[in-house]
């Protein structure tokens, strides 16, 4: 029988890798939408999580809608409104970024193996996946210049945190906190949209390094 949980986790790793190598912003946002959907599907496949109550159902649907539809739609709108298509000259090149992804995964595996957490059956892969996603999110925030890509990095970081929550928690109790983080994220994306338009107005570009030139 196909183990759907593992397949979804591996697909999340695939999106992480693709996001490191993608030059076009629209493609990047689409990859993030896919990752959001995959990440919000994960708890459904965990043993002992399931669709226990009406509240849980509402939570999963909201999660899927925000991560998979709402945030990507807003990001796409931001990309369209400032009419930038690709990230040129990032701080770290694309080939190097892809290799960094490899290193992140390698260290995530070693970390998970040597942490010796008493995880429930089949949760170790979630932890590996979560650490890799978080590290990659952090890396994207550091290695790219455009504000949109940095927000996408933040988004990926949040996905990783959510996965860690999934791996460690046994019940739905943690989800309240998660939901708070998600709202934070939503606000962050909105603020990013506003900032992006303003940078674009001031400099005719959305490169955040240009902000260093600001004076009184």
């Amino acid at each position: 029988m196909i183990n759907f949980l593992e397949v979804i986790l591996v697909l999340i790793l695939l999106t992480v890798l693709l996001s490191l190598g993608s030059t076009r912003l629209v493609a990047l946002v689409r990859i993030m939408a896919l990752q959001g959907v995959l990440v919000s599907l994960t708890p459904l496949l965990l043993k002992g999580h399931g669709l226990a109550s009406l509240g849980a159902v509402a939570f999963y649907v909201a999660m899927l809608a925000i991560k998979g539809v709402l945030i990507p739609a807003m990001l796409i709108r931001a990309v369209k409104s400032v009419s930038i298509q690709r990230e040129i000259e990032p701080f770290v090149g694309y080939h190097a970024s892809i290799l960094m992804g490899l290193i992140f995964l390698l260290s995530a595996v070693f970390m998970t193996n040597s942490l010796h957490l008493s995880l429930p059956e089949g949760r170790a892969l979630i932890l590996i996946c979560a650490v890799t996603t978080m590290a990659t999110g952090l890396f994207l925030m550091l290695a790219r210049k455009k504000a949109i890509t940095q927000v996408i990095g933040y988004l990926m970081l949040e996905n990783g945190i959510y996965l860690i929550g999934n791996a460690l928690s046994q019940h739905h109790s943690l989800y309240i906190v998660e939901f708070g983080v998600l709202l934070d994220l939503l606000v962050a994306v909105m603020v990013m949209g506003i900032i992006l338009t303003n940078i674009n107005h001031a400099f005719d570009d959305v490169d955040t390094t240009l902000l260093g030139q600001l004076k009184d």
């Binding site: 397949v7 986790l9 790793l13 890798l17 030059t23 080939h95 290799l99 490899l102 995964l105």
Partner: protein
């Protein structure tokens, strides 16, 4: 018996499938497209013609097509179609298969260089560079398969007991392998987004430019070899999709050949909806496939064993 039958069927049917790619592309363009058997007609037409050899070429030029055709057929003898035992198999035959295909490429390249045409030299450089990178991916996948199945022969990868398929115990890793292999398929067989088989400008060609000077039966051999190579990779991917454990081996074989059309359709769809990459983005594409393969290997160190 079943092994012979499936091999013969494979050798006979390989030129049929590229017709499917053309049909899919025609469908996307809103055209009727060439008939499904177009590649057979092309081969027949080419075989009836004579060959033209430039006076500046040597015997190497004539050797190229023959060797590359033989190198494309040979790996199929080791391939276990639809889970049937392959005709030949021994420990490590996968490595042999890959390097026999490498030898075929070498002779194509040497024959192309023999014409002393600058275009062909350029095509050779690209072809060799990209397939060197693709070899990384293939060997990452081999390392993974060796870890999972403890053997290095094609038929033991897919025999009973060793279930290197999506439905098997390590099915999640096979997802990565299938994506990586598909990227290698596109690279090695010079399809979009790496190379455009329909291009007419020598400067943008990779594979096509190396065979510009071949004509008649030589060209037919090269084309047929290319079909077999594509068939090999497509069959490899299909073999990873499902275990083919229907009770009757004949049913398995039919099922296998029907599923093969899936891979070719996917190639056709990609060819219709994507533009080819700029030349400098191709290494990134292949590198991504390598990292995918290596991701799978790393994951076996952690939990999925």
């Amino acid at each position: 018996m079943a092994s012979f039958l499936s091999l013969l069927l494979a050798l006979a049917a390989a030129p049929l499938y590229p017709g499917i790619i053309l049909k899919v592309k025609a469908f996307f363009a809103g055209k009727k497209g060439p008939p499904l058997l177009i590649k057979y007609y092309t081969l027949w037409k080419l075989l009836q013609k004579g060959s033209v050899y430039s006076t500046s070429t040597t015997f190497v030029f004539k050797l190229g097509p023959v060797v590359s055709f033989a190198a494309a057929v040979l790996p199929l003898l080791f391939f276990p179609f639809a889970g049937n035992a392959s005709l030949f198999s021994f420990h490590g035959d996968v490595v042999l298969m890959l390097y026999v295909m490498g030898m075929g490429r070498f002779f194509t390249v040497v024959a192309a260089l023999d014409t002393a045409s600058p275009f062909e030299g350029m095509g050779c450089a690209r072809e060799v560079f990209f397939s060197t990178l693709a070899e990384l991916t293939l060997f990452a996948i081999l390392i993974l398969f060796y870890r999972l199945s403890g053997s290095l022969s094609m038929s033991s990868f897919f025999s009973e007991g060793n279930t290197l398929t999506l439905a098997g115990a390590s099915g999640a890793l096979i997802v990565l392998v299938i994506v990586a292999l598909f990227m290698v398929l596109l690279t090695e067989n010079s399809r979009v987004p790496v190379d455009d088989p329909a291009t007419h400008l020598e400067l943008t060609m990779i594979h096509e430019v190396m065979i510009l000077d071949h004509s008649g039966p030589d060209l037919a051999l090269i084309e047929l070899g290319a079909f077999y190579k594509l068939f090999f990779y497509a069959a490899f991917i299909i073999q990873l999709l499902c275990p083919f454990s229907l009770p009757l081996s004949l049913l398995n074989i039919i099922f296998f050949f029907i599923l093969l059309a899936l891979v070719y359709t996917a190639v056709g769809v990609i060819e219709s909806i994507m533009a080819r990459f700029k030349m400098n983005l191709v290494p990134k594409f292949i590198l991504t496939s390598f990292v995918l393969g290596f991701f799978a290997v790393i994951l076996t160190m952690g939990v999925l064993q």
